[in-house]
């Protein structure tokens, strides 16, 4: 049997709050083999975002391990984690988090530059992705000149720029109206499938979660199939 693409073992994350230890994740177990879409649902504050931050190398666990393609990312130093985030992970947050001083195209070019990809290839890839999300004609627009839905579509394109193995989407439609939310969903799932990525989606939107191949519920700090 092939090695899992993502293996989360006994993952614990606790925070000190008001003199008490708050244990948000209490031994989360998750294994994903090959390209797949996985949705994690749960109430607000249940730890969905914390789980994604740990898998994305934005945070460090209190205990347990996160192994991506055979590498335990909890053992990486800051520089290695930066390289991991740059090359292996694409993030789509609830808020678009585009860089305000850069055009839509530049927002896509920067991840390529950070990963030291060749300039011509990066530009071609960025233009292609903007075309994929229906924003080829808005390449020169700054985030402030785009609508909310357009910004989130640029954010989806940016997440895919470096052909990551893993897309981590944290409430990607949470800030959008119904129409724009559906538009983003309709782009996200096919694009992730086309690129051969694994999508780990945190949402409390059950309709959105229903589109994933596998669904889990995070409650009481423990992950269980939904």
């Amino acid at each position: 049997m092939s090695e899992p693409m993502l293996s989360v073992r006994a993952l614990v994350r606790s925070f000190a709050a008001g003199g008490e230890i708050l244990e948000v994740l209490r031994g989360v177990e998750l294994e994903v083999r090959g390209p797949a879409s996985v949705a994690v649902t749960g109430e607000s504050g249940s730890g969905k975002s914390t789980l994604l931050a740990l898998v994305g190398g934005l945070d460090r666990p209190t205990g347990g391990s996160v192994v991506v393609d055979g590498t335990d990312i909890t053992a990486l130093d800051e520089t290695e984690l930066s390289a991991y985030r740059s090359r292996h992970v694409g993030f789509v947050f609830q808020f678009h988090f585009l860089l305000a001083d850069f055009t839509a195209l530049e927002n896509l070019l920067i991840p390529g530059m950070l990963a030291s990809r060749d300039a011509a290839g990066t530009r071609e890839r960025a233009r292609g992705l903007l075309d994929d999300v229906g924003l080829a004609r808005r390449a020169g627009a700054y985030p402030g000149e785009l609508s909310g839905g357009e910004r989130q579509r640029v954010a989806v394109a940016r997440a895919l720029m470096n052909r990551p193995r893993l897309i981590l989407a944290d409430e990607p439609t949470g800030n959008l109206d119904e129409r724009n939310a559906r538009m983003v969903e309709d782009l996200l799932f096919p694009l992730v499938a086309r690129e051969g990525c694994t999508l780990l989606l945190a949402t409390h939107d059950r309709a959105l979660a229903a589109r994933a191949e596998r669904r889990y519920e995070l409650a009481g700090g423990v992950l269980a199939p939904a």
């Binding site: 934005l58 520089t79 930066s82 808020f95 988090f97 860089l99 920067i110 700054y142």
Partner: protein, 433 residues
């Protein structure tokens, strides 16, 4: 283009408005550097101008003191002999002493320099800085005296006037005055009144009658090819040619204290202005800090999508350095522009000051019995103590050093806040956003 440069340059013209901090730093550094560059270049020109006049008109490059008993013909012959030595450009025989020049009721104590007219005319350096304000500057006619413009003003003398040179004549029991009538052949200027305000020239032949019987110095004013080179060898040749009774001194010995005083003043000014520029350069630190604080979200996003901390540190350092470089270039350019136009600028400020003073006098006039009167003419720089026209000389090395030091200080100042950008925790920043 590297991603650090790309991010850093964009911070300079940020649409989000953070570029204003960097533009402030550019202006601060430029304004800090302007006085430094002006002081450096103007004071350099001033000192060089004064030094050149001291060397050519004052002490000469080498000065040989000879026994007073040496006759005029022997003195001129000694000058000719010295002129033939290797490295010597010219040598002029001279006797000098203190006399009182008088015209009518006015008089002034002066150093009367009685020089060999031929040597005086041959001395290219002297002739370059001695310009005729009136009459001619030759001493071929006996009983001729050349007076400086300042002295002419003091005495109220003009070309053709007869002045009396009153010298002390030592008798058996008392000093008796000896009076010689001299005709003003010309009025000269050196451009540095401190040097010429109490000096007059007369022919060497008149030394015996016009100079006092005691306290007269017998000299050879020697000019060499390069006065700023080591003069030990040529001084030794001159001393050897003149014999054991001669004492040879270089201009460095004779003017040491005066030049040291100029240099000390100059460095003090440069230090003070340098501190202003250094403070402006160090201010880049707060600029970069503000930039980092205002761009926290951008930093968080970039760290989140995989930017290494070093990339962010470099980009903010580059933004700070680019601002410092722009400020340095602007400051140096503006400073040099002001420096090369300093004479015109002083004239304009003088005119403005006097215009303002005139307006103030007019405004006061109705309240002052008898009107405002003629008023006092204001002068920003008294040319009596400085050169009449400041000869600005640009020393590229000094300007480059000042610019490099500014950039270095800015770089050091920007490093810590720039490093702070790389140390932010991305998740924390994104959560707060």
């Amino acid at each position: 283009m590297s991603v650090s440069v790309f991010l850093g340059l964009r911070a300079l013209r940020g649409r989000s408005g953070t570029g204003r901090y960097l533009r402030g730093a550019v202006a601060g550094i430029a304004l800090g550097l302007v006085p430094l560059v002006v002081v450096m270049e103007v004071s350099t020109g001033m000192i060089d101008g004064i030094t050149a006049r001291l060397l050519e008109v004052g002490s000469s490059h080498l000065q040989a003191s000879l026994p007073a008993a040496l006759g005029a013909d022997d003195l001129v012959a000694a000058a000719r002999a010295v002129e033939r030595l290797a490295g010597v450009r010219s040598a002029t025989a001279e006797r000098q002493g203190t006399v009182l020049l008088a015209l009518g009721q006015r008089s002034a104590g002066v150093t009367l320099r009685c020089v060999d007219p031929a040597g005086f005319a041959r001395d290219a350096g002297l002739q370059r800085y001695l310009t005729a304000a009136e009459g001619s500057l030759d001493l071929d006619e006996p009983r001729t005296v050349l007076v400086s413009a300042a002295l002419a003003r003091t005495l109220g003398a003009r070309t053709g006037d007869s002045v009396l040179a009153v010298a002390g004549l030592a008798g058996d029991a008392a000093v008796l005055p000896r009076v010689t009538r001299l005709v003003v052949g010309g009025v000269y200027e050196t451009g540095y009144q401190e040097l010429d305000k109490a000096v007059a020239y007369a022919p060497l032949a008149d030394a015996d009658t016009a100079l006092p019987s005691r306290g007269v110095r017998t000299l050879l004013d020697v000019k060499v090819a390069d006065p700023f080179a080591d003069l030990a060898a040529v001084a030794s040749r001159v001393a050897e040619a003149l014999g054991p009774d001669a004492r040879v001194s270089s201009w460095r010995d004779l003017e040491r204290s005066r030049l040291a005083s100029f240099e000390t003043t100059r460095w003090l000014l440069v230090l003070i202005m340098g501190l202003v520029a250094a403070v402006a350069a160090a201010n880049v630190s707060s600029t970069v800090l503000m930039l980092v604080l205002e761009r926290r979200q951008e930093i968080g996003i970039l760290l989140g999508i995989g930017a290494r901390p070093a990339v962010l540190t470099r980009s903010f350092l580059l933004a700070g350095l680019a601002a410092a470089a722009a400020g340095t270039a602007l400051g140096i350019a503006a400073g040099l522009l002001l420096a090369v136009n300093i004479n015109g600028l002083i004239a304009v400020i003088d005119r403005l000051l006097n215009f303002a003073a005139g307006l103030a006098a007019l405004a006061r006039a109705p309240f002052i019995r008898g009107g405002a009167g003629a008023g006092v003419r204001l002068t920003l720089f008294q040319s009596a103590y400085y050169l009449q026209s400041i000869p600005v000389r640009i020393r590229a090395g000094e300007v480059i050093a000042a610019g490099s030091a500014t950039l270095l200080i800015a770089c050091l100042a920007a490093y810590l806040p720039a490093r702070r950008a790389g140390l932010l925790a991305p998740l924390e920043v994104l959560r707060r956003s």
